[in-house]
Homo-oligomer: 270 residues x 2
């Protein structure tokens, strides 16, 4: 069987070469420029050979996406150990933006190209967020029908940073997107448990809204050459302060979030 194993190794090696070349093309010229011909050229094989390893261009793209999800999650992991949940969320936000700026084409591929690619990243994650929200609302969860119900159990008790991390690590293998979102959910739960979020706040909604905010900063920055006019860090810091309060050691806080929530009456529109 040694011969079969060698052949298998060679097959896997070529598969990796294909993905390597594809990754380089995407990083250099963007996803739209990824074609079977170009990949074949890059690895010095004929286009037909590619179809022995991938059924289509789309399958190659999906493989690249999965790498991207994992890569993004990796940048999250170290920050998940930060004790203060607000600081943790801010650090995660910074890591998210940093990833997008450092790997623009990868970010585009995952979050700005095909809905099915983005869905693969956020689909499972969003389902978990919904489940968490339902759970929080006191809805009954049918463990038999939910394959990942066991993993969600840890979120039921107000988790410490350590348990949140170890729990999310359980997701890492199968679904990086869900794991990433789960790290955020854990931090938001802690904030809420500490009374720094309204008791009626829905952490699932908070997580989705915050994620969308981060996405907006990255996406606009990648798409629009003149955004932002101000330094990116300045915009990011303001955004994080608005969401989770100013935490700088500076005596005078730079931003004072709406001291009078409902001071003025609503005006009639034309």
């Amino acid at each position: 069987m040694g011969i079969a194993e060698r052949k298998n190794r060679q097959k896997q090696a070529l598969r990796e070469r294909i993905l390597d070349a594809s990754r380089r093309i995407v990083m250099r010229e963007g996803f739209a420029a990824l074609s079977m011909r170009k990949i074949a050229d890059a690895i010095e094989y004929s286009p037909a050979t590619l179809y022995l390893h991938f059924a289509s261009r789309d399958e190659i793209a999906q493989a690249l996406c999965e790498e991207g999800y994992a890569q993004l999650l990796e940048t999250f992991v170290p920050h998940a150990r930060i004790a203060d949940p607000a600081e943790r969320l801010k650090a995660l936000g910074r890591a998210y933006i940093a990833f997008g700026v450092a790997h623009p084409q990868t970010y585009r591929l995952i979050f700005m190209e095909d809905p099915s690619y983005t869905g693969a990243a956020l689909g499972g994650a969003a389902r978990k967020a919904q489940a968490s929200a339902d759970e929080e609302a006191g809805a009954e969860v049918d463990d038999a029908t939910t394959s990942s119900a066991k993993k969600q159990a840890a979120a039921r008790e107000p988790a410490t940073a350590a348990t949140a991390l170890s729990d999310s690590a359980a997701h890492t293998d199968d679904d990086p997107g869900a794991a990433a979102l789960h790290i955020m959910l854990g931090a938001l739960e802690e904030l809420k448990a500490a009374g720094r979020l309204s008791a009626s706040a829905d952490v699932g909604v908070w997580a989705e809204a915050f994620w969308a905010t981060l996405h907006g900063i990255v996406a606009l920055n990648l798409t629009c050459p003149v955004f932002p006019t101000a330094p990116l860090d300045t915009v990011l810091n303001l955004t994080l302060d608005v969401w989770f309060g100013s935490s700088s050691a500076v005596p005078e806080p730079a931003v004072k979030p709406t001291p009078e929530p409902r001071a003025k009456p609503k005006a009639a529109s034309a």
Copy 2:
């Protein structure tokens, strides 16, 4: 000269037919599916004829973009009359998201396709934001070199909603993007003048960060089929409350933004 005028009218009419057909194709199949052949088919002319009215496909796309900018601005205008600046900003945010959801392909074309398209919308706008920020910082503005310096003068004094609107209306003809951003800047200036924003807050940064946030919600919604899991309005309301405070008449505010800004010490990261 009547003959020449008639020919001119006919030429303009065909130009409009081309744009109409293009708009329909983009709305129905997306910008990527817009091809000269398809347009020609739709208007029942040969592809070659198109090149008598537009130099290239790109020129058609840019014409569509300009319509889109103006369309977006139009949805802003009625809300610019709201007296309370925070409520005005929230209404603008809602209008922005509503536009993106109602006209997904138009929104994609303007803000998610080609950087040059988005730049045409935000480029001039961003320059104005920067100018406003400079001005605010006490920098001298050389009126001779800035063609629109006169228009910015109105923002110097804490403007009423009326003056902010009339001022922004002056931008409408030449640059819808700048006009839209200017409406937001005016509202932020008012917030600041009322002491509801820190005196050291940079309204240019606020405007860019808020715009990015709105963009994130729309973009993620358009790209990701499962976002948001929660109703879009719920996510939007939370986001607007986080940015400009809760203004609902409900006795218990749904969201309490970080009552203890710097309660916990910063934790050491691993």
